[in-house]
């Protein structure tokens, strides 16, 4: 991730582990994202491209903390998203006057508690066996949110809808408002995640991922940190689920968080890069936006000339081939591929 410098030339200078630079590219990116995009972006870009991309990135981030950093494979990500969505909905509905940020955080906290419970088996089992228990969590949670009408306020079709989106009296219903809400949450949680993985907690997680026996030997309470990873991951997923339901679709039912959504998030982190923060964003862009891009390219170039059914299948084939090609080229994910490309470009054109 970050290159560590040990400056040799500064004799007598205090040892600086990390070179501090003003984070200009990041500042520019944030400025563009917070100011320029809502100002210039039209409904289509905000509603259909950027909001789902950001929410899926956040979900990927949540799963990456568990799978990429702690090494606990999970296919129950969407189940925890559902908990976050239904819990936030319940809080907004049943606690009058609760501000939106607290409802989101509350939904995340309830998801974290549920994640903690489903993380308990990780004390004893790991690998594929643990994966199967998370699969059980996925199906169980989906069932719970269909079976008990209390969770969706006895609506006839089991669907919840965003009650009110306002923050300090500002109405967030317009696309730009919802985009800023999502962007704010994602920025804040990404910043927390970056610091978390650099802290002792993050290093303990990585030690467990690399070899849990060795981690236990050097005194890391492995079980506790695994459960903590489940809780933190579920918190992120819960917030992402609530945002998916309220800020993006404006509605959700248990069906919006089915096993396919779990796989989608798992693919995001596998393709983006396990154990990388930025990888989630690249992975989410690849998984959620590339099919749209292919669809538009297909329509633009070949629409009308080629049979529509063949065209759709062709896009599927291209998408699949790209996934295989990228993973063969770089099993560590797209972010690693981009990093290598960047290193090469630094030396370009004088490679030798």
């Amino acid at each position: 991730m970050t290159t560590t410098h040990l400056p040799a030339s500064h004799d007598g200078a205090p040892l600086e582990l990390q070179e501090r630079r003003a984070p200009w590219p990041l500042a520019i990116l944030l400025a563009v994202a917070f100011v320029l995009v809502p100002w210039l972006g039209d409904d289509y870009w905000l509603n259909a491209i950027l909001i789902p991309f950001l929410v899926l990135s956040l979900a990927g981030l949540g799963l990456n903390l568990l799978t990429g950093y702690t090494g606990q494979t999970s296919v129950g990500a969407a189940g925890f998203m559902a908990v976050g969505a239904f819990a936030s909905y319940g809080l907004l509905l049943r606690v009058p006057g609760l501000p939106l940020p607290l409802a989101l955080a509350g939904g995340g906290a309830i998801a974290a508690a549920v994640g903690l419970v489903f993380g308990i088996p990780s004390n004893r089992i790991k690998g594929f066996y643990l994966m199967v228990t998370t699969l059980a969590a996925q199906f169980f949670l989906e069932w719970v949110f269909t079976k008990f009408p209390w969770f969706y306020n006895h609506a006839s079709s089991g669907t919840i809808s965003a009650p009110r989106l306002e923050l300090f009296g500002l109405d967030l219903h317009a696309p730009a408002g919802r985009y800023l809400l999502v962007l704010g949450c994602v920025t804040l949680l990404t910043w927390v995640a970056v610091n978390l993985v650099r802290s002792q907690i993050g290093r303990n997680w990585m030690a467990i991922r690399d070899m849990d026996t060795a981690a236990a030997v050097i005194g890391i309470p492995v079980d506790g940190y695994k459960r903590l990873a489940f809780a933190v991951s579920s918190f992120y997923l819960g917030v992402a689920g609530a945002l998916w339901a309220f800020a993006y679709l404006g509605t959700a039912s248990a069906g919006s968080f089915d096993i396919n959504r779990s796989f989608q998030i798992l693919f995001i982190i596998i393709i983006g890069g396990m154990g990388s923060i930025a990888g989630n964003f690249v992975g989410a862009a690849f998984i959620s936006l590339l099919p749209l891009l292919l669809n538009q390219i297909g329509q633009g170039l070949l629409g009308g000339n080629v049979d529509a059914g063949q065209l759709q299948n062709l896009q599927k084939i291209i998408f699949g081939v790209l996934i295989i090609w990228f993973l063969v080229k770089e099993p560590e994910g797209l972010i690693r591929l981009l990093a290598n490309l960047g290193e090469r470009l630094k030396a370009w054109p004088l490679r030798f």
Partner: protein
């Protein structure tokens, strides 16, 4: 981290560049009516999506090429692939809601109840009518609260009511329902649970015993449910399953000795795909059909002559011609074309925008004479939509599987809409309260 972010930015810029550099081919002209089609030709539901959209496209093509458009206004359509996933349908809606190349959008066919829910508020804000025949949000029948949602033909409550009314017909009157047992075997999902309130109300009204038996998704194994059916000995079973759970239900019922003639399937359990896998066990099975199967209707004759035989059909496999899903596509296309006719009668012969589209759908009236004229007699029920009533029809025919094809066994059976209306109004009032919507006054709305 910092480096990685910079790279993400570069990647995003590249993707954006590729997107904007696309050649923008003009597919529509400002004097055409643009119709976005959220198709699903790949993915798990492709087998129903392909004939469904083929029906819609064939009819639109027929209107364009044989009738010269709607009063001369040609229809331009474009597909976006959604794989029937809600987020992709929302993306498609956002992509095309402002029309294309100057051609406006008058309505959006959601083709999916979850998507109808997801787009409900967006449609109202953007003033785009959302059309979802025999699906959608039941309470959006109340157009005073939901001006831009049209669950046309037959809502889920209506489907339950038609089912019960048909059973009453077969029993010889509503008074005969008293003391009877009617079991609903349903797919345990929001779709499956949707009719529960309506059936409960009807059970109170007519005095039959209401038994609800859930089948968990996907429903590959239903011994438990049908053993329960055999124990309870219901007089009729209303089958509200979906996908693979329908043929499994029919087969399992046969295994447990429940007579298949006593099972009434719901709208979405009544296509060829639902009965063919059940084999001989399905012979005699009946299902509600707001869009019946069969290729003997007048419109099929015209389409065969003008579209199919000229190689212009969207169907790759002509054996699907006249199948239930194909006919659904035809009926949906006919409804929107008729609505555009109604709108043009007021606004002039030009393409309509979303707001005019709402007016058009609220003044849609298709009577028996018109149905004969467009060749849909018997395939589509007479419709009259208004501001207060966004359903418009509320009837279905019943078709029976004879082992090879669907045979219609009843005329249009009307739902008991007056009994159900208070339920719908209570739910729409709750929605209006939750969203702080002031309902329109339909008496003064034009």
């Amino acid at each position: 981290m910092r480096d990685s972010l910079r790279r993400v930015l570069a990647g995003a810029a590249l993707a954006l560049g590729a997107h904007t550099a696309l050649p923008a081919t003009a597919l529509a002209a400002p004097d055409e009516q643009f119709v976005p089609l959220a198709t699903y030709r790949v993915g798990p539901y492709a087998s129903s999506g392909i004939p469904w959209w083929a029906g819609t496209i064939d009819y639109l093509r027929y209107v364009n090429e044989v009738e010269g458009g709607i009063n001369g206004v040609k229809i331009a359509w474009q597909e976006c692939e959604t794989e029937w996933s809600t987020d992709r349908i929302v993306e498609c809606y956002e992509r095309f809601k402002n029309g294309r190349d100057g051609a406006p959008v008058a309505f959006f066919l959601t083709h999916s109840t979850p998507a109808s829910y997801a787009l409900m508020e967006k449609g109202a804000a953007d003033k785009i009518p959302l059309i979802d025949p025999a699906g959608g949000r039941t309470e959006s029948t109340d157009g005073s609260v939901f001006p831009y949602a049209f669950p046309l033909l037959l809502t889920y409550y209506g489907q339950a009511s038609v089912g019960i009314n048909y059973i009453a017909q077969r029993e010889g009157g509503f008074d005969k329902l008293k003391g009877k047992k009617i079991a609903t075997v349903y797919h345990d999902s929001p779709y499956g649970r949707e009719t529960q309130a309506a059936i409960e109300l009807l059970a109170q009204k007519y005095g039959f015993e209401n038994i609800q038996i859930p089948v968990a998704h996907p429903g590959n194994e239903q011994s438990v449910q049908w053993r329960q059916v055999r124990q309870l000995q219901p007089d009729w079973v209303f089958l509200r399953t979906w996908g693979v759970s329908t043929p499994v239900a029919i087969k399992t019922a046969a295994r447990f000795g429940f007579p298949v003639e006593r099972i009434i399937g719901d709208v979405w359990a009544g296509s060829e795909a639902d009965v063919i896998p059940a084999g001989a066990a399905a012979k005699g099975y009946q299902a509600l059909a707001p869009f019946p199967g069969g290729d003997g209707f007048e419109i099929h004759k015209r389409l065969r002559e003008q579209i199919l035989d000229k190689g212009k059909s969207d169907l790759k496999d002509p054996s699907y011609f006249g199948k239930v899903y194909y006919n659904i596509g035809l009926v949906n296309a006919a409804i929107v074309v008729e609505a555009l006719h109604a709108g043009q009668a007021k606004f002039g012969n030009r393409p309509l925008n979303g707001e005019e589209g709402r007016w058009a759908f609220e003044h849609l009236k298709v009577d028996a004479a018109r149905l004969k004229q467009i060749g849909f007699d018997g395939l589509l029920q007479p419709l009259q939509v208004s501001c207060a009533d966004h359903e418009g029809g509320g009837a279905a025919r019943v078709q029976q599987w004879d082992g090879e094809k669907w045979v219609l066994v009843s005329d249009w059976v009307q739902a008991d809409r007056d009994t159900l209306r208070p339920l719908i109004e209570a739910k729409s009032a709750a929605y209006a309260k939750e969203k702080s919507i002031t309902p329109r006054d339909c008496a003064t709305a034009n």
